[in-house]
């Protein structure tokens, strides 16, 4: 690990002005620092900031502090009762030890697990812009099939952000000049394009302070994750779904997908294929057609296209039962 300066921030303002890389749970950042994939010159320890509570708002939604650990968020009775898809997604990720340390803000900012991103001897435009993408033409079992570019086919590895995408979460930040902004999660992440090293809209020094969940909606919640092991593995494909069926017709559907893109994926055409229709395999196949329109495999991840179709159909059968 390259050495670094260390400072513990005692306020959000001080953290945003400290001019360093934020560290909270550190479970992803330190892993990458040991491999010298990440080499920050300064770490700003935000772990003691007062951002670790979950508050109910007057509009019925929840405001989650950026430092709330994944375990605590998953076990919160309000989350279990009103946002089950989020609880399920969190519990489907990592291990008990990691969930105890990993934070809400940090989970949003997880880096990809692309093998070539981790291998400092390999070309990777995300790690080193301009060095190429060895995943294209290489081993890409875990890689993206949607929204890729000729510069990068990495996936976002998270589960929590997929559920938050289906729930229309809003990410609240504070910048070094004190300005706060609220960024809908749908606008927070960037597709790889020509700049896969820029993964979201955060500016230098800008700190995620909270995540807001809108007031809960009715509907059944489901998070289904397909992976190589039954526990403690990243998603090959995952579905977060909140679906309402009334009088035999799907009246509302919010679906987001993990393991298939550079960001938690959501496509309004998938939901449009469902709403107003009776639940049936024909309807579900139409939704899968919408999801996979333009999907491209890169060799060893070709299987993800039929996997995504089958998993989506199975998920929709279950959630509309």
């Amino acid at each position: 690990m390259k050495t670094f300066d260390y400072a513990r921030a005692d306020s959000v303002e001080a953290a945003t002005r400290a001019g360093g890389r934020f560290i909270a749970g550190g479970t992803n950042l330190l892993d990458l620092m040991k491999l010298q994939v990440e080499t920050p010159e300064k770490l700003v320890d935000i772990s003691r900031l007062d951002l670790n509570t979950i508050e109910e708002r007057e509009d019925g939604g929840l405001t989650i502090g950026a430092l709330v650990p994944n375990s605590d968020l998953a076990a919160d009775p309000r989350v279990i009762a009103k946002y089950e898809v989020l609880s399920r997604a969190l519990l489907a990720g990592a291990s008990g030890q990691l969930r105890n340390k990993a934070t809400t803000g940090g989970n949003l900012l997880q880096r990809t697990r692309c093998y070539y991103f981790y291998d400092t001897a390999a070309g990777c435009n995300k790690r080193q812009p301009g060095s190429g993408c060895e995943a294209i033409g290489g081993f890409n079992r875990i890689h993206a099939i949607l929204g890729t570019s000729d510069q990068c086919i990495a996936t976002h590895p998270g589960d929590m952000p997929v559920a938050m995408r289906a729930l229309d979460a809003v990410i609240v930040t504070q910048k070094a000049d004190g300005d706060k902004r609220r960024v809908p999660i749908g606008d927070f992440y960037r597709l790889p394009g020509d700049t896969p090293h820029i993964e979201n809209v955060l500016e230098a020094g800008e700190l995620i302070t909270h995540v807001e969940l809108p007031a809960p909606t009715v509907g059944r919640h489901l998070y289904r994750k397909v992976r190589d092991r039954a526990s403690y593995a990243f998603a090959l494909f995952s579905v977060a779904a909140v679906v309402t069926v009334e009088d035999g017709i799907i009246t509302a559907a919010a679906l987001a997908f993990g393991g298939v893109a550079h960001l938690p994926w959501r496509n309004p055409a998938v939901e449009a294929a469902l709403v107003g229709k009776a639940p049936s395999d024909e309807t579900f196949n139409a939704a899968a057609d919408a999801l996979l329109d333009g999907a491209t495999g890169f060799g060893t991840n070709d299987f993800k296209i039929p996997l995504a179709r089958r998993t989506l159909i199975a998920s929709l059968r279950e959630v509309t039962q």
Binding site: M1, T3, F4, D5, Y6, R8, I23, G26, T27, L30, D31, K34, L43, D45, S47, S71, A74, A75, P77, I80, A81, E84, S87, R88, L91, A92, A94, S95, G96, Q97, L98, N100, K101, A230, S231, Y232
Partner: protein, 169 residues
């Protein structure tokens, strides 16, 4: 830097890069916690920090100066084993023993999580889980045993969980 480990105060001058695991093993002589992968994947380094199980290899010592840290050395003594330690002996919950300190620290933290009512991926109902073997396996999936002593590890944890449930009832 000042640390509180197993109820004892320690002073140490360490490089800022030092993990909590390396602090204990290399600087304070607490070698019970093991380094397996050093990347948070195997769980051999599991410790309890403020009562919560974490991977001590994936956190910096400098970040834990105000915390209560418990390692395997703080759970029991050879003369007076922690209930999980004696259950691992009775059930032969190991072969080489390298993962055992992490397994036991993890199980202590895990049973506390169950007491708090925390659900897991294996819980059909998120509001009230009973600790069957599938639950134990899921909740302990962050601890790898290369010797694959898993059935006996689950039995040892099951025994302590059942005994504790009886006391609570």
């Amino acid at each position: 830097m000042h640390f509180t480990i197993n109820g004892q105060s320690h002073e140490a001058e360490v490089d800022v890069r030092t993990s909590l695991l390396d602090l204990c093993r290399e600087h304070l002589g607490l070698t019970g916690s093991k380094k397996g992968c050093d990347h948070g994947q195997c769980g051999a380094c599991t410790m309890l920090v403020d009562g919560r199980r974490i991977n001590s290899c994936l956190t910096l010592a400098v970040m834990h100066q105000d915390d209560e840290i418990v390692t395997i050395e703080g759970l029991g003594t050879p003369e007076n084993l922690h209930p999980l330690q004696s259950a691992f002996v009775r059930h032969d919950g190991y072969q080489c023993g390298y993962c055992t300190p992490g397994q036991i620290c993890s199980a202590v933290g895990m049973l506390d999580e169950v007491k708090k009512g925390w659900p897991s991926h294996a819980s059909a109902d998120l509001t009230g889980a009973s600790l069957d073997n599938a639950e134990i396996s899921e909740r302990m999936s962050g601890n790898i045993c290369r010797c694959a002593a898993y059935p006996n590890i689950v039995d040892a944890i099951r025994e302590v969980a059942d005994a504790s449930a009886k006391v609570d009832a």
